[in-house]
Symmetry: C3
Subunit: 258 residues, 3 copies
């Protein structure tokens, strides 16, 4: 079995974009295994793609190459990136997609992809997913060293990825992701929450952490440590985003945090 | 080539859930081949997932492992299951997902997954797809025997999966699935329908079975034996669910059945 | 690694249809590699599927088999096709799906699939994707020659795939595809457009070609040569289909073409 290349994109499942990317990768490295893990990121939603990557990349075998293409600023002036923490490789546009991963891994070596040897010569500047990132992913999977793609850089674009803030006795966090089930993922890590913390969201007060949805009555809100290690707010057999009319960046407060 | 693991889930294609599941499986058994066959089951729609499984599982090679995760009652008190008919393996939550398959296969050996040796130690109780079912599927694909996962049980949760009923000269069945094209799948098997049976649905009378959509005029309803062997109602070049405003469990009557 | 079979369908991601197709292929040829490149083609949208195929097929390694199933006229009277240009193979219903590819490749050998030896004997006439096209794709991937599937034909059904027309100084083209981002793909090839051409669409005048979206202000329209070589109209950080209320077959004019 060859090495794994995963795809997170906003390409959707109605056009030939995904097919072109698969085709380019398999033509360069027939032994690679391409796994499509999120193809319906909302168009241009960098933050959502960054979150999907953060929540899944580390479960793959070492050596896996994660290609993330949500690319509203595609063009000759937007840098193309290749990053690695020594275990995993990441390729995608320089627009902040890798900010949350960088926060977790600490130091990620970052290269700008400039070597035209690894670029598909289509003349197009609007589909770097096919012309730059797919070949880069394929050549990495064949063992080409990161240095060969271009110069090391130390200033990748970052997006705002807020941390919770303390105001006296209160911890103020934010909703940073809303998943397909309507669960609200906050930026508050498990170690800042007590089992009996009081969580305030949208004028609702939730007392204490639940272990699973069934700990509260149906259609009632609960707070719990989500599967990726952060405080989440959900509804037992319901959709918290709809229930609260919640949006990303809404505030979540804890009055008695750790 | 290693063994096949298929996935039927309500995880969608915008989050990192699918990626985490793929990653866990490929990390345990790099030689397994993971095939994503239905990732947009409506959230918590157990019945829909059960139907997708029933309609596809037996077309795969023997030894295939079918992982089905639609899991509204996820938590430490909901049992995790591993089932087998000797040819195929099934893993998923104990909520009725496997009821239709059990009806077809007759006796399915059923095990509760309790052995923590095969569990991902994340401490989370809200994502058993990643932490319990993905590892179980991966270890089965490596040849671990069902008995090693936990005790045999004989009382899995079942869902209502109605059979058609006879009232004098009339057979009363139900719509049990509506597919992506709006075709209405009933619970009436082909052997109960005559070629010239009279089918009544929503005050419409359809006389006789068609062999294909083109047997009736465009936008007209037809009845036919569907690709999975049951009576279906469709519209030639149209959407029967929209045409009739049909819902799952709507009644279908046959006045002259076999 | 075995040969690649790609899938473009309107089967969606909520039913067992995709699973049945995968299962049939993998049961016949376990060494094939099945790649799902577009599973949410709008129901019965032959034109959209034809476009997805055209934009992706040639990026795959030679020998790849492209299975395209959007099949509103499925039934015993609709011919099943197998086509090849010597490099790639195509299987699908005879309804025009392959028209754009035929225009590009010139001569495509075309066979009608009639040999029941390669058909799944389900008795159904409503799911040829599973019963005819999946087996055909699988057997081609195992080296069965096209002639064995049935007779050569020279009159496949075609769909209207308009070319731009010249009226004096004016070139009149059409929108032939709208992608998931709302970009408008026209039928005007790059060689007919000058860098400073004046493009008129929906009473908007766009002067000159841009190289990338960022060449214009945010939310402003631009014209550019798209990633597949045709003139496209887009909006920088916006959705051109929504901006213009555009539909497929809307007219695009160029007053000073090449």
């Amino acid at each position: 079995m060859g090495r794994i290349i995963t795809l997170i994109t906003d390409f959707g499942t109605t056009d030939g974009y995904m097919g072109a990317v698969y085709g380019v990768i398999k033509s360069i490295n027939p032994d690679s295994e391409v796994i499509n893990i999120a193809s319906n990121i909302p168009a241009a939603d960098i933050r959502k793609a960054a979150r999907a990557l953060l929540n899944s990349y580390r479960f793959f075998p070492e050596g896996t190459i994660h290609m993330v293409v949500v690319d509203p600023t595609v063009g000759p002036n937007r840098r193309a990136l290749l990053l690695t923490d020594g275990s995993y490789y990441f390729v995608g546009p320089d627009n902040g997609l890798f900010t949350p991963v960088m926060k977790v891994t600490g130091d990620l070596e970052c290269y700008q992809i400039t070597n035209d040897k690894f670029r598909l010569a289509t003349g197009s500047e609007t589909f770097h997913g096919r012309d730059m990132f797919a070949p880069a992913a394929a050549y990495i999977s064949m063992g080409v060293a990161p240095e060969e793609f271009g110069p090391k850089i130390d200033n990748p674009v970052t997006i705002d990825d807020p941390d919770p803030e303390k105001f006296g006795d209160e911890l103020v966090g934010k909703v940073i992701d809303i998943d397909a089930f309507g669960n609200l993922v906050t930026n508050i890590p498990s170690h800042m929450v007590k089992n009996d913390s009081c969580i305030i969201f949208c004028n609702h007060k939730i007392t204490g952490l639940s272990k699973s949805y069934a700990d509260v009555d149906e259609k009632q809100p609960l707070a719990y440590i989500g599967s990726f290690g952060n405080l989440e707010i959900g509804i037992n057999k319901g959709n918290a985003a709809n229930f609260f009319g919640a949006l990303v960046f809404d505030e979540v407060k804890i009055t008695d945090f750790k």
